[in-house]
């Protein structure tokens, strides 16, 4: 059968861009469909160089507007007046949550998706992670192990550019790194204290997709740390800076924006997807596109939503859902402030520039032996800094002396934020809302998610350990929390189309194909079978590159 394209990629974010790059470079004619607007690299970053005094609300934003249109998005730390154009309007893009639950679903519907605003932390998962489901029985056993993904991690890191320090820590495998950004003076000191006192622990610079060396037309980082506005230097990985130009260079890419995929079309006779049905959100025009394979990279929850909506006689519960597992075992990370401490040391020392990454203390719990009363583990991210003018809001004083006292840098403080693994549970799940619909009458995605006792126990342990480490380094702990934030708070929502070898107990196979529909690939966060406790985007990229390689091989072998 002749098709309009060889492949359709749904979504242009972190994994959509990767799918488009890999498939076009392998010679496929690819259509990439983005639901949001075009944002051109460079010229589209409209707030990038503005100073606070050039913004109507000084960068703080219009609280009245936010309450009306950005009620969820505005709770995100990265959401500011400078970045609000990279987040969805909540009023126009509703979702529902199960009664008695909350979930903050942070989204960016534009070319590049959340690749424009992501935190850029780039970590590998280890075999502690890939083996976790099998070991303790939660969720579906991963059908792959670290050795399967390692070459693809290499491939991705080489292309996107990750700066970091190889450490030889088993729970956080080393990768292919550009030179690391340096720890600041207090972080370096604290590292020494922690590693002497707890030899199995390591404090290292955050491995980040910010360049420290120029690379293929992309400049090295300028240390502004305003990445989420968009970076015309191309110094951090985004679709626009990295994968999109590579895909476009092949001449094989067709890109459409302002176009939402409403369903994946399925032919029950051939048992294959035939393409997608789309709606142009500007013109209201509906049409179909056909292709030999479809890659779903809409963002974990939207990929689930699309599959759930793609109902047919053959798949009345959603495409690829013969197992009934679609939408189940969704995860985030349970996160909170492990500890904040004030330090008297180094008052005569400070830093220059804004480093766009912090520090990480990789997982050290429950690796080769079980410790404590919880399964799996947690890690810390954070860093040390000197306060600036915002301290004037919370310090007493007015007048000349107050102004003078606020002029210099404030005291040193160090923050450790805890990220605990989220166990995959069948009760944490996505469904179609039975009643509520969106503006065009489609059922809303309904999110039913709560953190469990295991996450709470892990965060309690993390709070104690964070406090102990900062105290050992001479800090005075002023805050330590152990309750997880609302679901979604880590912006690591994932799962729902988990990988596994058993078609009755999982949705996607070892090559990210739907068990039921082998020419549909799910390679964004939806395919995750467990969450580990590290930032997941690098793993999504590696899985996508690997799945693209498999897809092209299977096409050539005429198996799909």
């Amino acid at each position: 059968m002749s098709t309009e394209f060889d492949a359709i990629v749904v979504g242009s974010g972190i994994t959509g861009g990767w799918a488009a790059k890999e498939l076009t470079e392998k010679g496929l004619k690819v259509l990439m469909v983005e639901r949001g607007r075009m944002i051109e690299h460079g010229g589209g970053y409209v707030t990038e160089t503005l100073a606070p005094w050039e913004m109507p609300f000084r960068g703080e934003g219009d609280a009245a507007l936010y309450a009306r249109d950005f009620a969820v998005q505005s709770k995100n730390r990265h959401f500011t007046e400078f970045t609000q154009n990279h987040f969805v309007n909540d009023r126009d893009n509703p979702y529902s949550v199960a009664e008695g639950t909350e979930f903050n679903w942070w989204r960016g519907y534009q070319l590049g998706g959340r690749s424009l605003t992501w935190g850029r932390q780039s970590y590998r998962m280890s075999d502690y992670d890939f083996g976790a489901n099998k070991k303790d029985g939660h969720g579906s056993d991963w059908p792959i192990r670290y050795a399967d993904l390692a070459p693809w991690y290499d491939h991705v890191e080489r292309f996107i550019g990750v700066s970091g320090q190889a450490e030889g820590v088993a729970s956080l495998p080393d990768g292919v790194y550009q030179p690391p950004m340096a720890l600041n003076v207090l972080e370096q000191y604290t590292k020494g204290i922690i590693e002497r006192r707890w030899p199995e622990r390591r404090l290292t610079i955050g491995r980040t997709a910010n360049l420290t060396r120029e690379k293929e037309g992309r400049s090295a980082c300028q240390y502004r740390s305003i990445c989420a506005r968009g970076c015309s230097y191309g110094a951090y990985f985004s679709t626009q800076s990295s994968t999109l130009p590579a895909a476009q260079k092949t001449g094989n890419l067709t890109l459409v924006t302002d176009t939402v995929v409403e369903r994946v079309d399925y032919d029950a006779r051939t048992r294959r997807a035939t393409g997608v049905s789309v709606l142009n959100v500007k013109t209201g025009e509906r049409r179909r596109h056909t292709a030999r394979i479809v890659f779903l990279n809409a963002g974990a929850f939207n990929t689930n939503h699309l599959l759930l909506r793609s109902r047919s006689d053959a798949f009345p519960m959603g495409l690829g859902n013969s197992s009934g597992q679609l939408g189940t075992h969704i995860m985030d990370h349970a996160t909170t402030v492990g500890a904040v401490a004030l330090f008297d040391r180094f008052q005569d020392r400070t830093t220059y520039g804004n480093r766009p990454t912090g520090i990480v203390i990789p997982r050290f719990r429950n690796l080769d032996r079980q410790e404590g009363d919880f399964l799996r583990g947690y890690s810390f991210q954070g860093g040390a800094l000197r306060s600036t003018w915002t301290r004037a809001k919370r310090e007493a004083g007015v007048g000349t002396d107050f102004k003078a006292a606020m002029r210099g840098p404030g005291g040193w403080r160090m923050v450790l934020v805890s990220f605990a693994e989220s166990l995959p549970r069948p009760t944490n799940r996505l469904t179609l809302d039975p009643v509520k619909t969106d503006a065009v009458g489609a059922p809303l995605l309904k999110i039913d998610f709560t953190h469990g006792e295991n996450e709470r126990k892990a965060l309690a342990d993390a709070g104690r350990e964070a406090s102990a480490m900062l105290t050992a380094a001479g800090g005075k702990v002023v805050l330590s929390l152990d309750r997880p934030g609302v679901g979604g708070s880590a912006i690591h929502e994932m799962g729902g189309a988990m990988m596994g070898d058993d078609p009755r107990a999982s949705v996607t196979n070892r090559w990210n194909q739907l068990h039921d529909v082998p020419n549909v690939f799910v390679s964004d966060g939806a395919a995750m079978a467990s969450s580990a406790c590290q930032n997941p985007s690098l793993t999504y990229m590696a899985l996508t590159a690997r799945a693209c390689d498999a897809a092209v091989r299977l096409l050539r072998e005429a198996k799909i």
């Binding site: 609280a63 003018w389 809001k393 000349t400 107050f402 102004k403």
Partner: protein
């Protein structure tokens, strides 16, 4: 209610307060309210009455005065605070509960500026705006001290001061003369000495968020 009417109420109160001061009468919350209620209890209008503008100007100036760099009044902080109040930044749109007023009584829908005027008049022992600069500074210092003392967390002054501080250090002069601002640092140095006249970085965004 239009500005003129509101200001007439404010002027009436000033006259009342000056009269009280002239006869040496102790100013009590009840006495002050008796007068306030006859004049200025307008529902929250978005534009400020001239008396409120005058109050905001004076308080901004007292909080961050001119020195070798311009102060909060000179860089236009009152306009930012006015905008922030109208758009509810930092929750500023919510009415101040009566319990926050000294004496425990306040009008319905009191704004933070209504509250501030009331409290500063009380602390100044008369019309704050008509008082001598030293008296004004003393009154504001007392108000500030109470807001940052244990138990003062809910003081509306913290909110207002936060807006003044934000308006100042995000202004061009506050950000780049009083402090330092560098859009493109270009490199990272993890350990440099703080000079004797070292100024904080207004564009250290991580410190702005977490410091």
């Amino acid at each position: 209610m239009d500005h003129r009417t509101r200001d007439a109420g404010g002027a009436g109160r000033r006259q009342f307060l000056m009269a009280m001061a002239a006869v040496g009468a102790a100013l009590t919350p009840a006495a002050l309210w008796a007068q306030v209620k006859t004049g200025t209890d307008a529902p929250a209008a978005k534009a400020l009455a001239p008396s409120q503008r005058a109050l905001l100007d004076r308080v901004a100036d007292l909080t961050i005065p001119d020195s070798d760099t311009p102060g909060a009044l000179a860089v236009g902080v009152p306009a930012f605070v006015t905008l922030a109040l109208a758009h509810g930044l930092e929750g500023a749109g919510a009415p101040v509960p009566a319990a926050r007023f000294t004496g425990g009584a306040g009008p319905a829908d009191a704004t933070v500026l209504d509250w501030l005027m009331f409290e500063l008049d009380l602390k100044a022992g008369g019309a704050f705006l008509a008082a001598a600069p030293a008296v004004q500074l003393q009154a504001l210092t007392a108000l500030d001290g109470a807001a940052y003392a244990p138990g003062g967390q809910a003081s509306p002054w913290r909110l207002l001061k936060g807006l003044i501080v934000t308006g100042y250090y995000t202004s061009e002069a506050g950000a780049s003369q009083e402090l330092q601002y560098e859009l493109v640092p270009g490199h990272w140095d993890p350990d440099v000495p703080v000079g004797p006249h070292g100024r904080a970085w207004s564009n250290d965004w991580t410190a702005v968020d977490f410091g």
